[in-house]
Symmetry: none
Subunit: 240 residues, 2 copies
DNA sequence: TCTTATTTTAAACAATTTTTCAAAAAAAAA
DNA sequence: TTTTTTTTTGAAAAATTGTTTAAAATAAGA
């Protein structure tokens, strides 16, 4: 079940962004190289076969678009472009420069990891040309079902309306059942990297989440467990 | 339920167009080869039995028409010709050169996929020369029916006039019921590859689509669901 | 070709929903 | 009991979507 680790090149002039991405991607067992400017990045990308490159659009000297175009003259390495909100996201989106996907800053780390996985999956599919049985994206617990494609949550087969953050939070916890996350962890992973808000914000969302689940089933609400002095987790078992 | 995968040769001198087509076709589980010029393309097409060839009209050296004519001396492989707007679409259209279909640039990726499917269906039918119960291309929901062959939408058996984009959008969502698409997804897949517009353009089309459906049936309009903070989807169930 | 009608896009504003933060109340631990 | 932590509550601030309107692009017709 273990695959060979993919190597990823992360390019951004801001060190904190590089470190942030590196941290999250290494957590997923990818091997990461970093570059802070376009020239270096291009050289590295040409000299080594990366499985993926994450490339900031705005770079000192040679910008992301130019790097991508130059790279494309000799390599087809998948590229995810990072663009600030107003920037030329459109142009990047338009495939004009051979970008495979793009992410708008500020992003949530979780989102980046998901996109990276998706793109690597797509790329490897291309390579091996295998029929992948379209994986349904559903998490199932005794009283709770999360259909990620439909973005739908059901408690005892009864649909529950969640706000985006409530959904993200539940989905994140549900992906790692029985693992406790501190409020810091949750703010880091579920919120985007620019959010430096109050830790208590997490509590508020947990409260509303529990309330909504509880309206349908007390058992479902009890799945979200407070670990005193530590944080929150979802318990898969602990169900009637 | 799994069929053998069709192999397709994509020929265009612009890499971004090749990559774009490859990406969308691979998503549909086709096996893709690429060629950047006419000579290479012809050689590849003669040495391997492709199920379909997508051929750009304008190519350096030997152009698309010549490739097609030369190919036709020994093979009947179906060919879709890509032509820029002003180009000799007429000549190609007239099937003078043995082309089976043609698409005018810029195209929307979705359109290409549909044409490819249609042509492959036609071609395979020809092969077996059997009375195949012409697969109707109809999507049916409780209050909504989309007949793609006729390009006709009916709500509670009452025909609804949609503009092209409205239709495309509805059809795209209807093909993947219960799956949420972000505005970015929709712009990428439903609009053509040259469009780099505002995300909110999607909202406007959704609004008008809902309005037109709502004139006939509120239930039909309610099928198009806003997923707050994420995008839009069509709900198959959620119907009275 | 020129004119007219239709469709598409985009911007601005309104309406709605969500998120955040702060502070009091409650609960758990020491 | 005292202290610490969590839960609850409410309301302002922020973000997102809905709606309207006008300009731009496109297609159709004269």
């Amino acid at each position: 079940m273990e695959e060979k680790k993919s190597t990823i090149l992360v390019v951004d002039d801001e060190e904190r962004i590089r470190k942030l991405l590196t941290m999250y991607l290494e957590r997923e067992k990818y091997l990461i190289d970093e570059a802070a400017d376009g020239e270096t990045a291009l050289q590295m990308a040409l000299n080594k076969d990366y499985d993926l490159i994450i490339l900031d659009l705005m770079l000192p000297g040679m910008d992301g678009i130019e790097v991508c175009e130059k790279l494309r003259e000799s390599k087809a390495t998948p590229v995810i472009m990072l663009t600030a909100k107003g920037e030329e996201a459109n142009r990047v989106q338009g495939f004009e420069v051979g970008t495979d996907d793009y992410i708008v800053k500020p992003f949530s780390p979780r989102e980046v990891v998901l996109r990276v996985k998706a793109l690597l999956r797509r790329a490897s599919k291309t390579k091996f040309l295998e029929t992948e049985p379209t994986t349904k994206n559903v998490i199932v617990f005794p009283h709770l079902t999360i259909d990620h494609d439909a973005h739908r949550v059901k408690v005892d087969n009864h649909e529950v309306d969640l706000t985006p953050k409530e959904y993200d939070l539940l989905y994140y916890l549900a992906q790692n059942p029985d693992k406790v996350f501190s409020r810091e962890d949750l703010l880091k992973d579920v919120w985007n990297y620019e959010f430096f808000g109050d830790l208590r914000t997490v509590d508020t969302h947990v409260k509303r989440l529990r309330e909504k689940l509880n309206r349908v089933s007390e058992n479902a609400a009890k799945m979200i467990v407070t670990v005193w002095g530590v944080g929150y987790k979802i318990e898969a078992e602990n169900q009637a």
